[in-house]
Symmetry: none
Subunit: 224 residues, 2 copies
Amino acid sequence: MNQTILIIEDDVEINDMLRVLLSQNGYHPVCAYSGTEGILAHNKDVSLILLDLMLPGKSGEEIIQQLKEKHHVPVIVTSAICDVSKKVDLFSLGADDYVTKPFNNDELLARIAARLRNHAETSISQKLCYKDIVVDKSDFSVQCRGIAIELSRHEFALLCMLMENPLRTCTKSMIYDTVWDYENSADDNTLNVHISKLRKKLKECNPDEEYIETVWGIGYRLKK
Amino acid sequence: MNQTILIIEDDVEINDMLRVLLSQNGYHPVCAYSGTEGILAHNKDVSLILLDLMLPGKSGEEIIQQLKEKHHVPVIVTSAICDVSKKVDLFSLGADDYVTKPFNNDELLARIAARLRNHAETSISQKLCYKDIVVDKSDFSVQCRGIAIELSRHEFALLCMLMENPLRTCTKSMIYDTVWDYENSADDNTLNVHISKLRKKLKECNPDEEYIETVWGIGYRLKK
DNA sequence: TCCTGATTTAAGACTTTTTTAAGAGTTCAT
DNA sequence: ATGAACTCTTAAAAAAGTCTTAAATCAGGA
């Protein structure tokens, strides 16, 4: 559940450095090298913007306004300018913080975290789809033909595993590894029982469709 | 409607200077000369806190935590210390900005305005709604069918967390992280008890509705 | 046909959740 | 400081849900 941070910075070297710094610290950086590009790249997945003030073309001030108009997220301005009156202007335009270059990486990270904390939101829900089944890992929900299905923890993990490997056969030992976290003893019937229950619940929802296919002696996979 | 700013600063001269500066710029300053005094003076009229880091008695770090606990507003730390690692610590404790003394008055005013603006934005959307429940984070009130419900601090935080993630499952460990600030030991029953109490209070208010759903082995979520 | 592996069912073991109650810990006003 | 009121945590027992096991049955391949 990484947060996306948009970097708008024309200096390729600094842009690169920021990208590495952010991704090393668990964020998902998106790079833009001009104001216009930044505005285009800005969408609702973005949680925060790092904006260089000294861009060619559009002024940083203009850009802030347009960014905030499009989708309202915290903007941290980075710039070599130290002029206080400039800072004041930026703040009044909607910048949320200001870091003077050269900045200390840890301080920048701390300021990013502080702004994000305020603006806590987002989280891109991960949805797996196959035929008429929709699995949402973020809320542990499953729908089949739009109807909610209640699955137990292991059943859910099992279905996720199959749906994350569409049309690839999941061997029994792979499944035991992933879903149960232990090596199966060959005569263990647990997985079979769980597959059976899963099929039953899916069938209740859509009796005309077969979703899970048995690969004899090997394991299971989703049916084409 | 002037915004109240709490100044916590032991140096009488600086405290005085800040008071004048703020009142000249349309704010309503309240002065405190120690951390303890600051915590006492802090109430829900306060919109922002200017906190000196170098106080006698309690450490600035302790004070931030206690202030934020009492009523969540932006805290701008002022200090002569320039050490970056110190800054980082403070940010992670919940400081929202950091100004090094001696500071430029205009920059300070700009930072105050930025934090206030930010806080105002987030507090507009601070009314959380779900079905017939309305939660107002700014005054810690909860209504169900228009009837006020009294919740304890943890119950309130728990309900907020659920309502901030509508229809998404909050895992137990996420909840312990957010509401209790510690990793849960697997056999901890505290959360369960709080959920039980929360449900009971909601049920008293509306016996016909189920609000909180258990996701077995995972956590809880709001019911569709 | 026989052997092996898969499916289904049901029962009991096991785990997680709910509820209650009691005591420890806090907070608040006096 | 003190006591009252409230909140939080812990513990224990009951309830609810899930998992595994075992046994009977079924299906595929030689």
